[in-house]
Subunit: 417 residues, 2 copies
């Protein structure tokens, strides 16, 4: 895309009312816009990142047989009364419609997915399976000060799995730990993300969270570097400050943010909706469930918190809005530079690489600062100087390394996603 | 995908409370599920169709420079007061949050997009551009009896364009007529969809709708076959029952449904938000706007109304959930049939074709009836009989034509999307 066509602009200063690094950088770089506390618009650059994260998650959920669906936000009060959560969930938005009927604005979808799948489950032969969606969630957060880390409206991937018994559910649950680790590895925060033991509420000893180390987080975790797992602050006393895997007491405390979680729901939601199946002996048995969530904006914001630096955003290849940022110097007044930029742009595009081409009339310093702020992994400068030397000046955004390379070398570096 | 893995099932009978053909067929075939009046879940098969429609629309919007974003549903009351629509829009859902602040649940996004783009527009050099999104909309419909044709919650593509003057806006608006025609052609309802002159409200003589002929519609249009345009019932008196293009009076009345609309908004929304730019002389000028909507569920439901028959759904290739439906007869008890089915499945998949493979143990009649109900364009039967004749039995769902073809011929018929 030609940058002169992009309708958004970068800003020199962060908005005064934002305290979170993720929101400051994303707003300055033109990736998101704040409509109100905890409610953001994704602008063209930000939406490209969000969609890349979504596609990675979709591939991983499909790899374990997840079947994608899309459930509604307007959820009947009755469903929430059945599980008892209409009155107990503090952050539930409630809406009254024209006929006086009350609805919840879905903060999660157990109340919808369980009666939905009930229609399709009768026998043990119908199990197991898993279904997931990417859906807007609504939660009436009291404080929404963490930028896109904690929203009142946010897109979440929520998957629900259905099993004949706990053994089968736990086998799937264990597999999901690996799938979640893949997701966080692929989006670029694998090294700083830990499987974390947390309190399981009433239905299991532990639940598991994926926590990423960042000072922007609201949690404290205790990491066992030997096992590469962590314990959430809320259960560290019960755990007697020991690693649940090796029993070691050499744990380091870190501030972190929860980027995903997996729960053994067991029969917490199948029971109130009477979700059961007939086993091989014709006996009714309760369906056993698991659930698995990832907030997409939360992940995006966490990548910014972890990788962003004083110059701006730093995107990993897999989720960057573009693979290459061509910065042309003097192009609109210099036919040769413009022609050379266009040629490079066309060649990269024809290789399936997504390119942002800064074709605007601005000073070099301004263009470089903006390129650093936007954070595309590879910057390529085209100028009369680079043309004279029959090379391109490239900069690796993450390392800051600048070098001159020939056309063949440059093309070999750029790979389509 | 193996059909034995699909967690949904088809139903013999349509739900008693559904009157609309689209909802009856889509629910029976397992494409959607009704949560409450006007509020539906998209199941795996239905979501695949919806995503295909979304991708076609996205390509068409991108072809005219549209830049995709994603705006929120929780919209501050103040924005709606600024345009005067907080009190005048009957079907607006209103939500109060924990701090007592009121929000609208977005039924459309003019109130959000205008203040958003205001940040990025200062000079005539910033214009024109267009931005669009696919977003859930909420409208408190009094009656929601048309299945997915008229929902309380539904996904819409809404695009907004911004221009220096009316001439520029109208040129873009004219281009959008062609783009919309492409969309309806590509999703398979081009032949029955007409550009329709409708009342423009207060800000222009006409608006334009795209209306598709179907008895399920709530509108009446008067078609001029010579010009391939129509006039909406609401302005036919004013038009003196004549075609607005050729003046001819030979119009035929048809019942129809609106599948898309385009509006010249002019300064209706830029004025209240003070959206202006400095022209070449440094004078402030109002930004002139157009807007362009398509309801995705509405389009999907209309395809069902227009093409569905007494046996079930009939999908055009471009939006079908799968390209090919392999129906294996006796496979799980017949190793040779199972092996041959698997081989064909793998070959089609490796060509990039999406395949549903009915690998279940059911009678042939039941499988054929279900295949007709699901409506994939090409059915391929694999049985001991077809294997003996070294051919495949294929059926064209739309025409009902059945024939025997060799492997090469079959592979040549199947094209990746």
């Amino acid at each position: 895309m030609r940058q002169s066509q992009l309708f958004t602009k970068t800003q020199k200063e962060a908005p005064a009312d934002e305290v979170a690094k993720n929101a400051k950088l994303l707003i300055r770089a033109g990736f998101v816009d704040k409509l109100q506390a905890g409610v953001y618009t994704y602008l063209p650059l930000g939406l490209r990142v969000l969609k890349n994260i979504e596609n990675i998650i979709r591939e991983e959920m499909n790899s374990v047989g997840g079947q994608e669906i899309l459930m509604p936000s307007l959820q009947p009060k009755e469903n929430w009364q059945t599980t008892g959560r209409w009155d107990t969930m503090d952050d539930l938005y409630k809406v009254i419609d024209i006929s006086g009927r009350e609805n919840a604005l879905g903060p999660t979808h157990e109340e919808i997915v369980v009666p939905l799948v009930k229609q399709f489950i009768s026998s043990y032969r119908d199990l197991p399976f898993a279904t997931y969606q990417f859906q807007n969630k609504f939660r009436m957060e009291l404080r929404a000060k963490s930028g896109i880390l904690r929203g009142r409206e946010f897109i979440m991937k929520d998957m629900y799995s259905f099993h004949r018994n706990e053994t089968d559910m736990i086998a799937y649950y264990e597999k999901m730990k690996g799938v979640y680790a893949n997701v966080f590895e692929r989006v670029g925060i694998g090294a700083t993300t830990f499987l974390t033991f947390a309190s399981g509420g009433s239905f299991s000893k532990y639940s598991h969270e994926f926590q990423t180390i960042t000072s922007a987080g609201e949690d404290t975790i205790y990491i066992c570097d030997k096992c590469r797992v962590a314990v959430n602050n809320e259960i560290i006393e019960d755990q007697k400050h020991a690693c649940p895997e090796c029993g070691g007491k050499n744990l380091r405390a870190e501030t972190s943010v929860e980027v995903g979680n997996i729960f053994e729901l067991k029969t917490r939601f199948s029971a109130p909706f009477n979700l059961s199946y007939k086993d091989e002996d014709g006996k009714d048995q309760s369906v056993v469930m698991g659930c698995y969530g990832i907030g997409l904006g939360r992940v995006l914001g966490t990548v910014v918190e972890v990788l962003g630096d004083e110059k701006g955003l730093v995107w990993p290849d897999a989720i960057s809005p573009f693979g290459v940022h061509i910065v042309e110097l003097g192009g609109s007044g210099d036919d040769i530079v413009r022609k050379e930029s266009q040629k490079l742009y066309d060649e990269l595009i024809s290789k399936g690489i997504e390119v942002l081409w800064d074709d605007r009339d601005l000073r070099a310093g301004e263009k470089f600062a903006e390129s650093d702020l936007i954070g595309i992994p590879l910057r390529v400068v085209v100028s009369s100087k680079t043309i004279a030397s029959e090379s391109f000046e490239i900069k690796n955004r993450a390392t800051g390394e600048v070098s001159l390379v020939g056309k063949d070398e440059l093309m070999a570096m750029c790979k389509a996603k």
